[in-house]
Amino acid sequence: MSAREDMLSRIRGAVGKGRAADAGHTVDARLAAHRMNLIPARGQLAPDAKIKLFETMAREASATLTRVPLPSDVPEAIAQFLKSENLPSRVAMAPDPWLGSLGWERQPLLAIRRGRAEPSDEVGVTVAFSAIAETGTLMLLSGPDTPTTLNLLPETHIVVLRESQVVGAYEEAWARLREARVGEGGAVAMPRTVNFITGPSRSADIEQQLQMGAHGPRRLHIVLVEG
C-alpha cells in the first residue's frame, strides 16, 4: 500500500466509523459555505470608527502612518517621509498601474525603479489589496504588479492604502478577495502569496528583549489616502 493509502485508511479507520454515509457532502458543503464563525464587535464598526481603529492598531504595532486627502498627494508624502527619516531617495516600486499613475514626475528627486526588489534595495513602495481594522493589518497579494519581494527585502517598506480598502475583520478581507478573484467553478483563485503584515519585522529571541528589524523591514510606513 502506498503511504498515502495507508495513512488515509488508518485515519478513516479511526474516525470514519459511525460517520454518516454522506459525510463527503457535509464536508463539501462546509467548504463551499465558508461561513464566518465569530467576528468580534471590534471588527464590525461604522466606517469612521473602523478607519480610526485601523490607524490606532497599526501604530500600536509600530507602523507609522500619514494621511493624505488625494491620490495625487501620495508622491509628495513619500518624498517627505524619506527626507524626514534621512532615507535614500532611490526606491523600488511595484509596477501597479494605479500606483504608477499618481504623478511621480512631480518628485524629480525620487529615483524610481519598477519591478521586484533586489537585495540591495533600501526602500520598497507597494500597494495593499485590503487592510483589516481589528488588528491594524495590511493584506498584500503577490502578482505581476505587486511582487512579494518588495514587502520583505528593503529595510523600509512603504504601503499605499485607500480608505475604501479598509475592512473591519479578516473575514471581510477574504470576502473581497473571493469577489475580486473568481476562479474555476466559482472558487477563489488564490494568488501564490497572501501576506498579512502587522507592523515591521521584530524578534525577541535574545533574552526576550524586543528588537525591531529582524529579517524583514525595520520600518513599515503606511500612506493612507482619504475617501
Binding site: 474516525v15 464563525n37 465569530l38 520583505l152 488564490m190 502587522t198 524578534s203 529571541d205 533574552e207 529579517h215
Partner: protein, 470 residues
C-alpha cells in the same frame, strides 16, 4: 533527535541547579504570561473564540481523511505536489530527494517543530545538503548544536553573552574583537549574515501553522519575516506539515488566528501571517518555481478515535509551557525531546513511545493552569493523568510511593523550599496556593529535592509567602 526523556528526573535536577537557566526562565513571567493576560482581556470575545476554534478542529478531525483529500486536490490544482509520509524516515528521504532534484547545496529553513521532530537538519547535513536555520532563536541553537527549549522561543535558555560567543565562533570572517554586548548588535549581525544565506539558498523549507482544505494553501506565522524570505527567494518551497494542521476554510483559519498570537506572545496579531498557494504563477516576477507539501503522520493517526484526539487540536502556541510551574522551574531541555511542557508531556509519549517518556506525564503539579489558558481547550491534566494510568496498567510506572508525596508532608519536610530559587519557588507556591483545594500530590518532589543542598531558611514563613501569593 534522540529522546532523553527517560532520564527526566536527572535532567530536572540539573536544571534546578543551573543558576543561569533559572534566570532565563524568569523572563517568561514578566513577558509571556502578563502579555497574554492583557491581550485576552482586551478582546471580550476571547472565550467564545476558544469555543469556536475548538469546534472547528473537532469537526475537522472527525472528517480528517476527507479534508486531507480535498486539501491535496487543491494543492495539485494550484500546481503543487503533496507527499504523504507515514514516519520521520519517510519525510526525511522525501525532503532530501526534493533537495537533490533541485541540486540544492544549501537550504534555508523557517522555524518548524515538525522538522525538529524528524531530525531533519542532521539528516540533510549527513547527506551533503547544508541546512540554515533563519529564525533568530533557531539560528542561535543551531550554532550551539542543541535542541530548542521552547516551542515558540527556542533559545529562551541562552543569554546574550552566550549568543555573542556562538557568533564569534561561527562568524570567523568578522574581526574577533568586535563589540557584541547588546541584543541589537547581535541581531544586526545575524540579519546581515542570514541575508546572504537567504539569497544564496536553493531550496526553502518552512513548517505550517495551518493547511487550508478549501484552497490548498499553507500558512505560516512569524514575527521576523524569516519564513517569508525562506519561501520567496529560492527555486523551491517545501512545506513540512502534519496531518492535524488542516482546517476547512480561510475563515476558519481567521477564527483560530485570533487566538494564536494572543495566546503565544500576547500580540494582537503576529507581524507576518502568510498564505502560500502553489508555485509562482507564470507572470509573477518572484516566488518559488516549485511548491511541495509534505504531510507527516508519525504516530498522530493512532491518537485519532481515542480520547487523545483532543491533543490534535493543539496549535503550538506555547501558552501551556509559559504557565506551567514545572516548565517554569526546569525549562524545556529537561523534557528530553522536541516538545516540552504540558503539551509535550502528552504528545511525546505518542511520538517516541511511552517507555521512552514515562516520567513526562508525571511532570505536572496538576494545578490546571495549562488547561485554563489553552486556546484550544485541550484537557491537558486529564490526558496526563490518563497516561499515568496507562503506565500503571503497563507496569511502566515507578512505585506510587515515590511520587505520591502529599503537599503538606512535602512542605512540612522542606521548610526551606522557598529558598530553592526565586522563580521556581514563587511559581510553585503560587501554583499550589491557587489550587490547593484540589491538590493531590507533588509528583516531582523527589526529583526536585534529591541531590540539592538547601540553604537555611531566611526570615519569612511559608505561610506568609503563601498568603502573599493569594
Amino acid at each position: 533527535m534522540q529522546p532523553t526523556s527517560a532520564t527526566f528526573k536527572g535532567n530536572a535536577t540539573d536544571a534546578l541547579a543551573d543558576a543561569k537557566l533559572q534566570k532565563a526562565l524568569g523572563h517568561i513571567k514578566t513577558g509571556f504570561i502578563e502579555r497574554r493576560r492583557k491581550a485576552a482581556d482586551r478582546l471580550p470575545e476571547f472565550e467564545a473564540l476558544r469555543d469556536a476554534a475548538k469546534a472547528i478542529k473537532d469537526h475537522t478531525l472527525a472528517h480528517l481523511d476527507l479534508y486531507l483529500e480535498r486539501f491535496e486536490a487543491r494543492v495539485i490544482a494550484a500546481g503543487g505536489q503533496v507527499h504523504w509520509c507515514r514516519d520521520a524516515a519517510e519525510a526525511r528521504t522525501t525532503i532530501l530527494e526534493i533537495c537533490r532534484a533541485h541540486d540544492a547545496r544549501t537550504v534555508t529553513k523557517g522555524k518548524s517543530m515538525v522538522a525538529e521532530e524528524i531530525g531533519l537538519n542532521d539528516y540533510l547535513e549527513a547527506n551533503g545538503v547544508e541546512p540554515i536555520e533563519t529564525d533568530l532563536g533557531e539560528y542561535i541553537i543551531q550554532l550551539r548544536h542543541e535542541p530548542p527549549s521552547h516551542i515558540i522561543a527556542p533559545a529562551i535558555h541562552v543569554n546574550k553573552e552566550e549568543v555573542a560567543d556562538a557568533f564569534r565562533a561561527a562568524h570567523t570572517h568578522l574581526p574577533h574583537e568586535r563589540v557584541l554586548d547588546e541584543a541589537s548588535t547581535l541581531l544586526a549581525e545575524a540579519r546581515k549574515i542570514l541575508r546572504e544565506k537567504f539569497v544564496a539558498a536553493d531550496v526553502g523549507i518552512t513548517g505550517a501553522n495551518f493547511l487550508i482544505a478549501e484552497t490548498g494553501s499553507t500558512v505560516i506565522v512569524t514575527n521576523e519575516g524569516n519564513g517569508d524570505l525562506t519561501q520567496t527567494l529560492p527555486k523551491a518551497h517545501i512545506v513540512l506539515g502534519s496531518i492535524e494542521k488542516v482546517v476547512p476554510t480561510l475563515e476558519d483559519a481567521a477564527t483560530i488566528l485570533r487566538l494564536l498570537a494572543r495566546s503565544a506572545t500576547g500580540q494582537e496579531f503576529s507581524v507576518y501571517t502568510t498564505f502560500s498557494t502553489g508555485p509562482r504563477r507564470a507572470e509573477d516576477p518572484d516566488g518559488p518555481g516549485a511548491f511541495h507539501v509534505v504531510i507527516l503522520d508519525n504516530g498522530r493517526s493512532r491518537m485519532l478515535g481515542t480520547e487523545f484526539q483532543e491533543m490534535l487540536r493543539c496549535i503550538r502556541c506555547g501558552a501551556c509551557l509559559n504557565h506551567c510551574p514545572v516548565y517554569g522551574a526546569i525549562g524545556g531541555h529537561a523534557y528530553g525531546w522536541v516538545y516540552p511542557g504540558p503539551m509535550g508531556a502528552v504528545l511525546t509519549p505518542w511520538l517516541v513511545g511511552l517507555e521512552q517518556a514515562r516520567d513526562l506525564p508525571n511532570a505536572s503539579t496538576f494545578c490546571g493552569k495549562c488547561e485554563a489558558v489553552c486556546p484550544m481547550r485541550i484537557p491537558l491534566p486529564k490526558l496526563m493523568r490518563r497516561l499515568r494510568e496507562e503506565e500503571y496498567e503497563r507496569k511502566l510506572s515507578p512505585p506510587a510511593s515515590r511520587w505520591a508525596v502529599s503537599l503538606w508532608a512535602f512542605v512540612a519536610r522542606r521548610p526551606a523550599l522557598y529558598r530553592l530559587g526565586a522563580s521556581f519557588t514563587a511559581r510553585l507556591l503560587g501554583a499550589l496556593g491557587r489550587r490547593s483545594g484540589r491538590f493531590r500530590s507533588l509528583p516531582l518532589a523527589k526529583a526536585w529535592t534529591a541531590g540539592r543542598d538547601f540553604p537555611a531558611p531566611e526570615g519569612r514563613s511559608f505561610q506568609s509567602l503563601w498568603a502573599e501569593r493569594r
